[in-house]
């Protein structure tokens, strides 16, 4: 029992360090409100920690982690019925983004990120999962394995969503529908 707990803790430690950023980004796709997003990230970590008690190695650790994380996100949507309407990014985020670029670009990036967030949050849960995994640089095979669809179906989905995102970005629809329901 103690051995199992140790293994669970150790697996969680490795996963949490390696996937912390990805989990943090994933939470943006499921929750707009910064406070509720923190809670969601916490819930994902809790589910992840609990899940390693029953992890049997039949799937890869990465697949397992993304499944747990996205299922928790999907559960969050089902529980909360609708996504919060508070803003996605706040003034503190500008500093963080500016660290990666510069302050001139930071404001533009914030605007683009907000548009991207709104577009992703308007997608259905599975579409949302497919596109966020794609943005995390996973290939169609891995996405299909996590979402439960064939690689070709995942590839088709990615293509369609990318096209839709590009179309909406060009039309600037996000500003029009920014406060619409997901």
């Amino acid at each position: 029992m103690a051995e199992k707990t140790t293994s669970q803790d150790a697996q969680y430690d490795i996963a949490a360090v390696e996937f912390s950023d990805a989990i943090g980004r994933l939470a943006y796709a499921y929750e707009r409100d910064p406070e509720k997003r923190k809670d969601l990230v916490q819930d994902i970590h809790l589910e992840l920690w609990r899940s390693f008690k029953i992890f049997d190695g039949r799937s890869s650790v990465r697949t397992w982690i993304y499944r747990i994380a996205h299922n928790t996100g999907a559960s969050h949507i089902l529980k909360n019925k609708r996504i919060s309407q508070n803003s996605d990014l706040n003034i503190d985020d500008i500093g963080e983004i500016a660290d990666q670029t510069n302050y001139v670009d930071a404001f533009e990036r914030i605007d683009q990120l907000e548009q991207l967030m709104v577009l992703i949050q308007r997608l259905g849960p599975v579409d949302r999962q497919v596109i966020t995994l794609y943005l995390e640089d996973l290939d169609a095979t891995a996405i299909g394995e996590i979402a439960g669809i064939s690689p070709s179906a995942a590839a088709t989905k990615i293509h369609r969503i990318k096209y839709k995102l590009a179309e909406l970005f060009q039309k600037g629809e996000t500003h029009v529908h920014k406060h619409s329901k997901p």
Binding site: D21, E47, N71, Q170
Partner: protein, 197 residues
Amino acid sequence: MSTNTQSLKSLWQTLPAEKNVFSHEQMQQLAHQFQVKHKRRTLTEYLGFAALVGIIAYYLTQRSDWQALAASGLAIIGGIIMLWNYHRIAKANALPSSNSSETTLEYMRRELTRQRDAAALAWKWYLLPFVPFLIFVLAFRWSEEGATLTELTDFRVILLSFFAFIVASLIATMFWYFLNAARYQRQLDALDKFTRL
């Protein structure tokens, strides 16, 4: 803005994600908090039931004839059956929500089906247990006081108002459940459409 593949990906990667790594103690504490929250919710349900028993007990101090005893007994039995059903269903679905190796599609389908069925069958486990009580009270009051219903004392007005409130709440809740069942079905249809591509 350029929306090619790399720019979308690099834009996404700049998201200021919080770096969260929780200690084992924090995880254990969170798990404990989750259990406490669950227990508190259960306690609230029991307190709600206790309040119902309290109201019935008060009613019995006003009247202690066999009709009042029978109506009270039926209300309490209805409440017990409803609580038992509630816990039976909750227990059957108590598996950690996302703590499994299911794919998101499998998980979503299972969750939506479960919630749709629970909502669609709510009448069976939520309303049905109270039907004997409602029928008895209606029949009794009609036979006993049908001719003198216009003579409403303050106590009767309170009692009838309370009764009307209970009935209206049950109907409103049922309506809400049916709306939810329809919403879950629409989401399931959307999932099916998704898998067909």
